[in-house]
């Protein structure tokens, strides 16, 4: 009988061993010790300890008591940063770019603010682990196409259903009419472009009138089921930001006027590729911007070659509140590098880091939860061997919503399998 128990026990152990091959995100209480803690809002703490409990930062400082049941992770020689936030992506809404049925960000129709990006996010997208292992823990994922493509959502890059991922903020996306060419393949004449611009502007103004009317009707209690109109009400009331995509200088000016004419209080401009040309006007209007991608080519062949790198810094210098985005689907992981280029070409390291942490948190109204390492905020953070903007740096640990997320992704698995393939070359 003793031998039977042994057999049973050893079988159990083997089974547990097999299960342990797939790493899962684990919650619990953690103490990260001996680290350089870059809080972003309250300076840097040398030789610090950060305690995570119940999904939050429970304590942080150089003299912190470590709870008894905490799992200690020695971070000597390493740095702790807040999880980075990408303020504009299609992550989770696109799996294989050229296969259209795997893309969920572009619905049919011009005016469709009721399209909810959040529900269409694929929590199991292969790109999500690939992204977070670079320290990006939170992204705004956005619909696109048409005049008002839908409602974007801020999501944490962990969770098995959209609600688990939801990070507490949304915004209605709007594409301001574009008076420039769309790309190198756009062969429309000046007149055609102007005509379409006028048409689009007219359309958006008409739609806006309808929305205002709907608001009145709704207050009178007479509204029908008009989901697209309904989706605009929080924007009208300033509760949800209106994210206006606008890039050309003349269009940005027009958009500023448009926003002021309608007395909208909660507006963010996205893209702003030529923001540097109208930086002062943006600053005066007090409209925060989400700039990027930083790694793009200048908008005009006569522009100085480094304009897109310098754009965020130039706007910041003029007093504009600037967050950064990659506007990517599967390469959102390049956010820290985009920020690095912005830092190098004028923004400076500190401000560039803010532009992907606390500033987007403030813009989206979740600064009490995200964007810096402060007691009480959500435990979205990572541990790195150095500056996360530098390619040489490795990320060794990752926490999202207090869960210890394994540093694992398909890219890493393929590395492990193929670095030394077995069998190798065999005749």
């Amino acid at each position: 009988m003793f031998r039977n128990i042994l057999t049973v026990l050893s079988c159990l152990l083997i089974t547990i061993g097999l299960q342990a091959q797939v790493e899962k995100a684990m919650d619990g209480t953690f103490a990260l010790t001996n680290a350089t803690i870059v809080t972003v809002t309250n300076g840097t703490i040398e030789n610090g300890t950060l305690v995570i409990r119940d999904g939050r930062i429970a304590a942080l400082g150089s003299n912190v008591t470590i709870p008894g049941n905490a799992q200690t992770i020695d971070c000597a020689g390493k740095y702790i940063y807040p999880g980075m936030i990408d303020s504009g992506t299609r992550l989770g809404l696109s799996e294989v770019g050229s296969v259209s049925l795997t893309n969920d960000y572009r619905e049919i129709g011009e005016f469709k603010p009721h399209m909810q990006a959040l529900t269409a996010v694929n929590p199991n997208s292969v790109a999500i682990p690939v992204t977070r292992v670079n320290g990006v823990t939170t992204v705004l994922t956005m619909p696109s196409g048409g005049l008002v493509p839908g409602t974007a959502a801020l999501i944490n890059l962990m969770g098995y259903n959209p609600d688990q991922m939801y990070a507490g903020a949304k915004g209605v996306v709007m594409n301001f009419p574009n008076s420039g060419k769309r790309g190198w393949w756009d062969r429309r004449s000046e007149e055609e472009i102007q005509k379409e611009y006028d048409k689009n502007l007219k359309e958006i103004n008409e739609v806006w009138e309808q929305v205002l009317f709907f608001q009145e009707v709704q207050e009178a209690g007479e509204a029908d089921y008009r989901p697209e109109m309904q989706a605009m009400i929080p924007v009208l009331e300033g509760e949800m930001p209106l994210l206006i995509e606008v890039n050309k200088a003349a269009d940005i000016r027009a958009a500023i006027q448009w926003v002021e004419d309608r007395e909208l209080s909660n507006v963010v401009f996205t893209g702003v590729a030529e923001g540097w040309r109208v930086a002062e006007e943006l600053a005066e209007a007090g409209i925060p911007v989400i700039a990027g991608p930083v790694l793009s080519t200048p908008t005009r062949p006569s522009d100085r070659y480094d304009r897109p790198y310098a754009n965020p810094g130039l706007m910041l210098d003029a007093g504009v509140k600037v967050a950064l985005r990659t506007n990517e689907a599967e390469n959102v992981r390049n956010l820290p590098f985009n920020a690095g280029f912005a830092a190098t070409y004028g923004m400076g390291k500190e401000e560039a880091m803010k532009a992907i942490t606390i500033v987007p948190a403030e813009i989206f109204g979740v600064a009490d939860q995200l964007g810096s390492l402060e007691v009480g905020k959500a435990a979205n953070l990572f541990v790195a061997t150095g500056d996360p903007f530098e390619m040489k740096t490795d990320i060794t640990h990752l926490f999202i919503s207090g869960y210890n997320v394994p540093i694992d992704s398909r890219h890493i698995q393929l590395y492990q399998e193929f670095l030394e393939r077995s069998p190798g070359v065999r005749k």
Binding site: S179, Y197, A249
Partner: protein, 560 residues
């Protein structure tokens, strides 16, 4: 005006271009233009001179020339007579084929065609094509060029990379063949890809050209060998395209290669270096980069008469306001654009300074802009003599017709133009053109020019009258301005009902549009150019080859 047209019909004329004189069957074929300033060739001017043309040839020129009895005398006092211009290359007189696809970049390839191996016509490889059977003397372009003083042209078929061979035509004749002076003296090539089939890119074109050239070399060798001793040898395959290229490969015919941009020029020069054909560098716009190189290599050049459009007076586009921060940048950009514009405008002068003698091609230019372009080139350093040479003596020499035309000399063809002021002066009008002894007369254009910065309200119903020698014709014009889009209808008392106008454009206070009308089964387009001042307008209407007439009108009632 319509009445007059119908009158012409009544006299039993076909609608083919005939001179005003011919319409009434000339009583004489001897003309004397008296007391004019005659420019016999660039740099040689004789004042108070007379020129006599008999049976289509120049009989006498000079100050002491007596007017023969029975000659039709045209008093050309204070007018200037020049040798008729020769267009070094264009499609004048060759109608554009109807099925040419102007579709979007996608092109429309017929079904069942293998894009990698398409029929030659589709690929644009038709070097054997001649213009003879396509020439139309009443083609719009013929009249347009003639009005400017052109009397002859070197024309090629429409097409893509190898449209065909060039022929010299006179810009008048009873029918196509009648216009033909000399056929197939050159081969024409351009970097034009085929839509959706090989070659669809410029690299495809260049590769295809190289291959055809070498295949032609091979064919020539084969044919020579076969002619010498055919025994035991496969017979040469007949290929009309290669056979058409053979004279170029053998150096017997020149190759006119269209090269407007600087990259085109360098590419063509390299191809010439590789393959060795007799190149005529045609249609150049940016040749200042290679002036010395071309001069040294003695390559004949034909300058493009098309110049970039001058910018409108800083019109602020909607939404494109100036910004203080943009001022420095805008200034710099404006300077660069202006400097480049100057380079284009002074290209001809640069070439002339490098010692290059060149002709002009009207292939790309709008005829209405040619006089202005010449003036711009002259303002930027080209001498009037050089400009005149490029229009007359140089193309004549290039095309091998110096014995017949290019200067005013006894014995040469009666090809000339008469202008009411020195040709290159602003506001100068061509009054007469003579081609091969046929005389064409033109009314002086009214000085009224439109002002692009003025505004005009075209809305409403207008009454108009047209003055034609001996006749006044009238009708109504209804116009609607829909935020810049002009539409409307045109009605004349001779028409059964009103017709919609087409191609209407309002530039400041100058309105232009076409009124299609149908006469005697023929569709014609009347081209109106009106300058609107308040509630009245005045301007001109062009009635095909019949000429241009004055129009006047006023608005009925209140503007809408």
């Amino acid at each position: 005006m319509l009445f007059l047209v119908c009158a012409f019909l009544a006299i039993g004329l076909s609608l083919q271009a005939q001179s005003v004189e011919d319409a009434l069957k000339p009583v004489t074929r001897t003309y004397a233009l008296t007391n004019a300033t005659i420019v016999t060739q660039p740099g040689e001017m004789i004042e108070g001179s007379t020129i006599v043309i008999k049976n289509g040839l120049i009989d006498a020129i000079g100050t002491n020339v007596s007017v023969p009895a029975g000659a039709k005398v045209i008093a050309a006092d204070s007018m200037y007579v020049y040798a008729g211009f020769i267009d070094a290359l264009s499609n004048t007189g060759v109608p554009r084929p109807k099925n040419e696809d102007n579709g979007p970049r996608r092109g429309r390839r017929p079904d069942g065609v293998n894009p990698g191996d398409p029929p030659r016509e589709l690929a644009g490889v038709t070097p054997e094509k001649q213009v003879r059977n396509d020439l139309k003397p009443d083609e719009r372009s013929v009249e347009d060029m003639r009005k400017l003083g052109y009397t002859a042209a070197h024309v090629v078929p429409h097409g893509r990379m190898l449209p065909g061979q060039g022929s010299i035509i006179l810009l008048a004749g009873e029918d196509g063949e009648d216009m033909l002076l000399s056929e197939g003296l050159s081969l024409f090539t351009q970097f034009e890809a085929a839509p959706g089939v090989f070659p669809a890119t410029v690299i495809g074109v260049m590769s295809k050209f190289d291959e055809l050239y070498r295949q032609t070399e091979q064919m020539i060798m084969h044919m020579d060998a076969y002619a010498k001793n055919p025994k035991g040898m496969d017979r040469p395959e007949r290929d009309e395209a290669l056979e058409a290229m053979a004279p170029v490969v053998k150096g017997e015919k020149p190759l006119f290669f269209m090269a407007p941009g600087v990259k085109d020029i360098y590419r063509v020069l390299r191809m010439q270096d590789d393959l060795g054909f007799n190149l005529v560098l045609t249609g150049v716009k940016e040749a200042w980069h290679v002036a010395d190189q071309i001069a040294e290599a003695n390559i004949p050049v034909i300058v493009n008469l098309e110049l970039p459009d001058l910018p409108k007076d800083s019109k602020k586009k909607e939404g494109e306001e100036e910004d203080e921060a943009m001022d420095d940048e805008m200034k710099m950009l404006q300077e660069r654009a202006a400097e480049r514009m100057q380079a284009f405008e002074s290209q001809a002068a640069t070439l002339a300074d490098a010692g290059i003698q060149f002709g002009f091609t009207a292939m790309d230019a709008k005829t209405n802009d040619i006089h202005a372009s010449l003036r711009r080139m002259i303002e930027h350093g080209l001498s009037e003599d050089q400009a005149l040479a490029a229009l007359t003596t140089t193309p004549a020499a290039m095309l091998g017709v110096s014995d017949m035309m290019g200067t005013l000399e006894e014995g040469k063809m009666g090809n000339l133009l008469v202008s009411d002021a020195p040709y290159f002066a602003e506001g100068a009008n061509v009054r007469f053109v003579m081609i091969d002894g046929h005389l064409f007369e033109y009314e002086a254009k009214k000085a009224t020019k439109g002002n692009p910065d003025a505004t005009a309200n075209v809305n409403g119903e207008w009454s108009y009258t047209v003055e034609v020698p001996g006749q006044t014709s009238e009708g109504t014009l209804k116009l609607i301005d829909n935020s810049g889009e002009i539409s409307g209808t045109f009605y004349s008392t001779q028409m059964p009902s009103a017709e919609d106008i087409e191609n209407a454009r309002l530039n400041g206070n100058e309105l232009s549009f076409d009124a299609p009308v149908s006469m005697g089964g023929q569709r014609m387009s009347l081209q109106f150019t009106l300058v609107i001042t308040g509630d009245t307008f005045e301007g001109t209407v062009s009635v095909g080859e019949f000429g241009t007439f004055d129009v006047e009108g006023f608005r009925e009632g209140d503007p809408e």
